[in-house]
Symmetry: C2
Subunit: 173 residues, 2 copies
Amino acid sequence: MRNGDLRLATELAPQRSFFATIAQKKHIRPMNQTVIPKPDYEAALREAGVRITRPRRVILGILSDAGDHPDAMEIFRRAVAIDSSISLSTVYRTMKLLEGIGAIHRHAFEGGPSRFEPAVGDHHDHLIDIETGDVIEFQSDRIEELQQEIARELGYEIVHHRLELYGRKRRRR
Amino acid sequence: MRNGDLRLATELAPQRSFFATIAQKKHIRPMNQTVIPKPDYEAALREAGVRITRPRRVILGILSDAGDHPDAMEIFRRAVAIDSSISLSTVYRTMKLLEGIGAIHRHAFEGGPSRFEPAVGDHHDHLIDIETGDVIEFQSDRIEELQQEIARELGYEIVHHRLELYGRKRRRR
DNA sequence: AATGCAATTGCAAATCGTTTGCAAATAGAA
DNA sequence: TTCTATTTGCAAACGATTTGCAATTGCATT
């Protein structure tokens, strides 16, 4: 969570000042600049007792170096570029499998198809740029606490939750 | 296990004590016990310059006394019980129309189809009972503020957002 | 009350994202 | 290498929703 680590230099550069600012707000943590450890999907799959096939290896590779939140069709496109024999069904089946063993998260953002993300690192929520579809991850302890509090007051225990902010870049003023 | 129609009384009663309790927490407002003003859909439609047809009148009636968050199929069922000639397409078309003029909100809760709710009263978020599908509305100024703050820090303005808590009733201890 | 016509309807077929049945291919234990 | 249960690609099925079209209807006009 240090703000020196860089991913996507092009994207990071103009925002550096933001992150410097945010770093002071201890309860809001933007997560995009975090260095994400590549998950060892193969080990996870082996542990789940499933076979490591060629299509799966390709898809896992795509996932582990996806810096974005691709949908099934996009994963399929990237997969076909590597091995043209891979089918969309297999992509869907693999996503379901990975989701089942908790290796990825599925997000149903507004409108479009499900988008996927490796399940690494801490929990976080999402801000979706409604103009570009870009997803910015963030984490707020206070919001998490508040959610807990609310559920408790209403007599419920939270199994999971979904917080999505849909917005557009603020005009630099 | 879909949600039946009128379990209001039976379900509300045991919760009354909750609401009494919650009423003290000024920043969390459960909204289920609120007296909801019935919206004048016909006026809204007329204003939007569309015709008040028989199917529309039936659907509007259903919406304005729906205490729950029905999906299109459920609205269709209730509509057919009143006028068997109404079609599902018309339900969908009417929902889209109403959504367009801001008279209802569409919610895409996890898994299932879109569910609808008259757009009356304040903004609120939802807690979905994953066992029954029941929806509990709540409102938290603090969460709203935090969201604003987060978006601001990230350089975005929020256009809208979605906060859904999925949980189950806590075992009464 | 009768007319005219655009708005609206019901129906069936189309669409989108996703899942599934099945026969052929293959991972990986023996 | 052999074996067989698992996995695959394909096409067809799926559930939610939308759409084209010809028939109907609201309603402004006579």
